[in-house]
C-alpha cells in the first residue's frame, strides 16, 4: 500500500475532482467538466467512476462494486481489489453494509440509506449527444433548456414502435431544469433515481464530466401525457428466489436452449434465498 497515494490519485487531482463534485451537487443534473486522469485500467472499465470513488473514499469506508448487478464479474472484482490495495478499505458484496457503492448499469434493488454514496460509471454523459454531436451546441441547448428535440426523438419511437423503445439510459429531467443521462441503467431503475436517501455521483472518464443528484432530488423520466413512462421488466418471477419486484436477466441454462429468469442484483437474490425464498428453478 505504501507504493501508492491513498486511493491511487495524487492530492491535487482529488481536490480538483472534489471541487467538481461539490458543484455537481449544487447544480443537480448539470455536467461539470473535470480534467480526467489516466487510470491503470482501460476506459471501458469505468475510469470516471473509479476517479470519483477515489476522491470520496475514506479509510473507514466499506466499498462495494457491482457490474450489471453482479459483484463477481472481472470488472467488479478488479475495481474492488484496486481500492482494497490502494485505499485499504474494507469491501463487501452486501448492499446494506456498504457505505460507498460503485456501479455499472444498475441501481441496487434494496433501498439505499442516508450515509450511503452511489457512484455510477458513465460512458456517455451527454443525453443530447445522439441528436447533436457538437459539444458547443449541446451546452447551448442545456443553457437555453432547449429540450424539444429530445421529446421529438422519443415521440418518433412511439410512432414507429407504438411505445417508447428506449429501454436503457432513459433520459430524465432533474428538478424541472436539466435533462440528464442516468447512465445505461435499465429504465426499470429510473424511479429509484428520485427521492433517494443516498448521494448519487456520476463520473464519465473519457468524456471528462462529473454530475450529481443530492438526496431527495426530484427526478422525472421524460414522457408524454398519452404515453406515460413505464418502468418495465421481464414479466416473470425470479427463477432462483421467486422475487416479482426485481430486475431480471434472462439466462440460457442448457444446450437445448432452456432459459430462466434470475435477479440481475446478485446480492438481493442471494439474500432472499438465504432467507428461505425459493423460485421454481431453484435446486
Amino acid at each position: 500500500m505504501s507504493n501508492y497515494n491513498f486511493a491511487y490519485l495524487d492530492e491535487q487531482t482529488k481536490r480538483m475532482i472534489r471541487r467538481a463534485i461539490l458543484k455537481g451537487l449544487a447544480i443537480p443534473g448539470y455536467q461539470v467538466p473535470f480534467a480526467s486522469r489516466e487510470m491503470p485500467m482501460p476506459y471501458g472499465w469505468g475510469t470516471g467512476g473509479v476517479q470519483v470513488s477515489a476522491a470520496v473514499l475514506t479509510p473507514e469506508d466499506t466499498f462495494k462494486v457491482i457490474d450489471q448487478g453482479a459483484d463477481d464479474t472481472t470488472n467488479a472484482v478488479s475495481i474492488r481489489t484496486f481500492f482494497e490495495r490502494t485505499a485499504g478499505v474494507e469491501t463487501t458484496t452486501a448492499t446494506c453494509d456498504a457505505t460507498v457503492i460503485q456501479t455499472r448499469h444498475r441501481i441496487p434493488e434494496e433501498a439505499l440509506q442516508e450515509g450511503q454514496i452511489l457512484v455510477y460509471q458513465v460512458p456517455i454523459p451527454e443525453p443530447l449527444r445522439f441528436l447533436e454531436p457538437r459539444e458547443s451546441e449541446t451546452r447551448k441547448m442545456h443553457s437555453l433548456e432547449e429540450y424539444g428535440l429530445m421529446h421529438v426523438k422519443l415521440y418518433e419511437d412511439i410512432s414507429r414502435h407504438g411505445h417508447i423503445a428506449t429501454s436503457y439510459a432513459y433520459p430524465v429531467k432533474v428538478e424541472g431544469r436539466y435533462v440528464m443521462d442516468p447512465s445505461p441503467i435499465p429504465k426499470f431503475d429510473n424511479p429509484k433515481l428520485g427521492d433517494m436517501a443516498a448521494i448519487q455521483l456520476f463520473g464519465a472518464g473519457r468524456e471528462q464530466r462529473i454530475y450529481a443528484l443530492p438526496p431527495y432530488t426530484q427526478v422525472v423520466s421524460l414522457d408524454f401525457e398519452d404515453h406515460p413512462f413505464e418502468a418495465s421488466k421481464a414479466d416473470h418471477p425470479c427463477g432462483m428466489c421467486g422475487a416479482t419486484d426485481s430486475y431480471l436477466d434472462e439466462l440460457i441454462v442448457d444446450d437445448a436452449g432452456g432459459r430462466m429468469f434470475v435477479c440481475s442484483d446478485t446480492d438481493y437474490c442471494e439474500a432472499r434465498q438465504a432467507a428461505g425464498h425459493k423460485g421454481k428453478d431453484a435446486a
Binding site: 455537481g24 449544487a26 443537480p28
Partner: protein, 200 residues
C-alpha cells in the same frame, strides 16, 4: 496566540482531507445539516473549520479572496504555505472567506455563465451562527424541509432565483460547518415549525 505558518496544517493530508471532504460533501448534499470537520489549526481569525475547508479544496489552481480582517499576514502566510493558492479580488476568486459582514455585497462575485454555471464563487462564511433556526430550507438534498440560521434572508433568496447560476455557501464556526447551495429555496421559519425541527 498566533500559529506559525508552517504548523496547523493536516498532519496526514490524504486521510484528513478525505475525512474533511466527506463532511463538506455531506453538508453540500444535505443543506442545513451541521457536520463536524477536524484536522486544521489555522491562525486567528480563521476558524479550524474554515481552515480545514480551505486545506481540502484549495491549491495553486484556486484563486482565493480574503475578505475584511481575514486579509492579514497570519492568514496569508498560512494559506500560502499549505495550499499555494493565489490571492485575488472578489471578481476573480473561486473561493472567498470572511465573516458575513465583510463578504458583501454578493453582486461582486462571479455567478457562472449560462453554459458554465459551475464557474462561480463558493463563499466560506466564517463565525456563522450554526443552528437549526431562523430560515426554512427546501430543495434538492432536503427531505420535506430543513432549518438553518442565516445572517439574512433576502440575499440568499435572490441568489436562489439566479439558479442554475449563483453562489454556493459554506458556513463555518469552531469545528463545525453547514452549507447552502444555490439550489435551496429559503423562507422565514415560523416559530411553530422551528419547534418541530428542534424535536426531530
Amino acid at each position: 496566540m498566533q500559529a506559525a505558518p508552517l504548523s496547523g496544517g493536516f498532519a496526514n493530508t490524504a486521510t484528513q482531507s478525505a475525512h474533511a471532504f466527506r463532511s463538506v460533501m455531506e453538508a453540500m448534499a444535505r443543506p442545513g445539516t451541521i457536520q463536524d470537520i477536524e484536522g486544521a489549526s489555522p491562525p486567528a481569525p480563521l476558524s479550524p473549520a474554515a481552515g480545514a475547508v480551505l486545506l481540502t479544496l484549495c491549491d495553486t489552481e484556486t484563486p482565493v479572496y480574503l475578505a475584511g480582517e481575514m486579509d492579514c499576514d497570519a492568514v496569508r502566510s498560512w494559506l500560502s504555505f499549505h495550499t499555494g493558492a493565489p490571492f485575488v479580488g472578489p471578481a476573480q476568486c473561486m473561493f472567498a472567506v470572511g465573516i458575513w459582514d465583510a463578504l458583501g455585497p454578493l453582486s461582486i462575485y462571479p455567478i457562472g455563465t449560462s453554459e458554465y454555471p459551475d464557474r462561480s464563487t463558493t463563499l466560506i462564511v466564517d463565525s456563522a451562527g450554526l443552528s437549526a433556526s431562523g430560515a426554512k430550507l427546501k430543495g434538492p438534498g432536503i427531505k420535506d424541509y430543513a432549518a438553518l440560521f442565516l445572517p439574512e434572508l433576502e440575499a440568499f433568496q435572490a441568489n436562489n432565483l439566479l439558479f442554475p447560476l449563483g453562489l454556493d455557501f459554506i458556513f463555518t464556526k469552531g469545528s463545525e460547518l453547514a452549507a447552502l447551495p444555490r439550489s435551496t429555496q429559503i423562507s422565514r421559519l415560523d416559530s411553530k415549525a422551528g419547534a418541530q425541527v428542534g424535536a426531530s
